[in-house]
């Protein structure tokens, strides 16, 4: 690891993270760090355990062993809602929105999570949700960041795939997280949409600690400050992109095929 990252306090870290399903270790002794202002990309072939890793970090799955720390707290075994409350936001590979709500309602509800009153508090039964100004402002910001202003009234399930991916991000951003776990945000996007998403991610970098799981190698090398390669649940390389790229083992296991596919790749 480079010296710079060692000195900076990581906002989120995992140590020795393992997840077994029966006899199979989907994630095996994985450690990583996320720093403010950095994008840490995680790549690897299908089945490498990347999504499982994301699920472990977000609390969707409990680890078999290992620890996870978020902003100084040991969050191992915490529920997803508790982790979200500590400013972690995550987007999903398989679009996970409220299909029958409008785009606006999706984002508004996400923003509402930050000030949700206790459900047993009667005051929360009489207020008008639509008139919660701070919530509306937060939602508006998120919609603008994701570029969905013109689609706010559309039913989420009726929008295009690319718009749904944007909505996926908007909802995550509406919770104003500090740490972002993004699972294949570019999946299935056309060229133009992918480029604006990459631009968005670069804008977000400054104020967030980001983990990015992706397959799009070009985007990875544009975005990543740090790169971890996973194969069969284990980390086979973790360093700055230039170093990882040159690693023979990585090339053999994964990058080899990828670099042959891309034409006119940048350096």
């Amino acid at each position: 690891m480079s010296d710079h990252s060692m000195q900076r306090q990581s906002l989120m870290s995992a140590r020795g993270l393992t997840k077994r399903f029966g006899g199979l270790a989907a994630v095996n002794d994985v450690s990583l760090d996320l720093w403010l202002g950095h994008i840490h990309a995680v790549i690897g072939p299908n089945g490498a355990g990347k999504s499982t890793l994301t699920n472990l970090l977000s609390g969707d799955l409990p680890p078999t062993s290992g620890t996870i720390t978020l902003d100084g707290h040991n969050i191992t075994g915490w529920t997803p809602e508790k982790i979200s409350g500590h400013r972690l936001g995550r987007s999903y590979q398989k679009t996970n929105i409220f299909t029958t709500f409008s785009v606006w309602d999706n984002v508004r509800l996400a923003a509402q999570s930050r000030v949700q009153p206790s459900p047993f508090n009667p005051l929360g039964w009489f207020r008008s949700a639509a008139k919660m100004t701070a919530v509306n402002q937060r939602a508006e910001r998120a919609i603008e960041l994701a570029g969905l202003q013109n689609r706010r009234h559309a039913m989420a399930g009726a929008t295009s795939h690319g718009e749904q991916r944007q909505l996926e991000i908007a909802m995550t951003l509406a919770t104003e997280p500090l740490v972002l776990l993004l699972d294949e945000p570019l999946a299935g996007m056309g060229q133009a949409e992918a480029e604006s998403m990459v631009q968005l991610l670069l804008r977000l970098k400054k104020d967030h600690a980001m983990m990015l799981v992706e397959h799009d190698i070009d985007a990875i090398f544009t975005l990543a400050d740090h790169l971890t390669v996973m194969v069969n649940g284990q980390v086979i390389a973790s360093d700055v992109p230039a170093v990882v790229r040159a690693d023979a083992g990585v090339q053999a296991a994964y990058l080899g095929e990828e670099t042959h596919e891309t034409v006119g790749e940048e350096h």
């Binding site: 996970n96 029958t100 709500f101 606006w104 509800l109 509402q112 949700q116 009153p117 206790s118 039913m155």
Partner: protein
Amino acid sequence: MSTPQIHLETLPRSIQLVMTLGFLALAAFPFVGSDFYSAMVVRMMILAIFAMSLDLLQGVTGLVSLGHAAYFGLAGYVLAFITPQNEAISLYTSLPLAVGGAALAALVIGFLVVRTHGIYFIMVTMAFAQMVFFIFFDNKALGGSDGLFLNFRPDAGVIDLENKQVFYYFTLGCLLAVYGFLRRLLWSPFGRALSGIRVNEHRMRALGFNTFSHKLAAFTLAGALAGLAGYLWAAQSGFVNPELMGFHMSAHAIMMVILGGMGNFAGAIVGALSFEYLLHIFKDLPDVGEFKTGKHWQMWMGLFIVALIIFAPKGILGVISRTFGGSAERKESGHE
């Protein structure tokens, strides 16, 4: 629930008109209807409150409870127990006690069942409700299978509930209050969260919502409102028995909500009124020769339910909405 449905949360104009006319008709009814039919309408209104309470759970939050009648019956039993033999009990003490009792039961049972999902939830709600049923059915001290009688309606001071018309308007008042409350709740942050849980609970958790406590609160509140209906039922009929808490009662409630259309409370009212009226029609069917058609009302009811599920799963309001237009899709949120 496996398939997310677009619910008519924002009532289209056609439905709003129907509801307004309906409430006016209810208000005018005692002046035109006989005592017999007025009493029937009171029962319908009480069942409408019961149905709305279930709609909160089922239509809004997506929790299908096959045991909701437990809270309806419990509140009725509380009133039956605390009403003395020789005089009336005050409304102002008995109502909070009954509703509170139902709410407490819902809180306890809810704590156990709300952690289950899908088909488990359906089964455990049914199981716990049957447990409550058997507690009362098997215990002579609690009235047993014969049930309990109430000799007096609650004493509300200036409001004389023993007077049929007064009781009618008291019930109508409760109906309107509950409807107004629930419509308000639907658009509150709590209501929005419940809708979100119905559509995608997993994402709600990921967004930071404590879905367990939200579902529990909905379960408890629904139980409390069912308790209000049960209290009124006991007060009106003067009699409670374990059937009020039974599986059939719970299933009737589900039917009413489905028949009217789920998720907006208006449907629950329409469904309750229609269902009761339908039941009345089936039971009163004229004999065809030797065949006692009315006696076999359960058959017609059963076939009707089967036909409803096959052909009109969105219920009456769905049909009205489709026929008379008025957008079923949600445009601007937060406006009725």
